[in-house]
Symmetry: C2
Subunit: 113 residues, 2 copies
Amino acid sequence: MKQEATCEQELIAIRDSLEILGGKWKLRIMRHLNNHITETNTFKKIQREVEGISAKMLSKELQDLETNLLITRTVMNTRPITVNYAITEYGKSVFPVTETLVQWGLNHRQKIK
Amino acid sequence: MKQEATCEQELIAIRDSLEILGGKWKLRIMRHLNNHITETNTFKKIQREVEGISAKMLSKELQDLETNLLITRTVMNTRPITVNYAITEYGKSVFPVTETLVQWGLNHRQKIK
DNA sequence: ATTATCGGTTAACTAAAGGTAACCGGTTAC
DNA sequence: GTAACCGGTTACCTTTAGTTAACCGATAAT
């Protein structure tokens, strides 16, 4: 549901969101997982498809997202071992955030060209 | 209008958006200006109401936002001189982004408590 | 004359984010 | 046995973000 808040509370809410979702990679990872929600998403696959991210950053960002219950990490019983990352129900709540950023970015690109 | 894109283009769009709107302060400043769109927003007033921001950061962030045509800066003919910052028509397009972050932040705060 | 307000700038610094490259154990294919 | 793939970790370094405090000129109030 839509919630009401004072301007001050709104700014605090933005700060809270950015603490969890801010930085260069987290929202991109979340969007990617949401776009591939029916597939298995291994570490290497994510690294290939979220262009430019290093193993170190990906590892750290995935840990942060898991800590905040936005994704799950599952070690699969395969040879060689693979690890599947999946978005949680709660993680799906991030979709509107990524969607507005996608739309704004697409629109901005059109505007400046 | 809503635009369609491939997953790859979507991730690029998010990157583009974050290049312009990312960081700790820009979205908070934009939200504040949007919430006080009918008032005059002077430097000191913004600094008081966007809690925690230093003069240096505010100055820098306002310059960045002006460069990207999201806000205007107007020196007023008052004594002492005041400067009014106002959101542009284009700047209003950022509102949905801040709105989803506000809602997510409010919801998250409820969830973890 | 002194103090205060406005709208900043500057310098010096610290902290956080992010990048690069080497390396790890385990497994499988050649 | 050697090379390749998976899923990372570690150490080292650079860059960016952000903080603190001092200071500036102009104007106005006491």
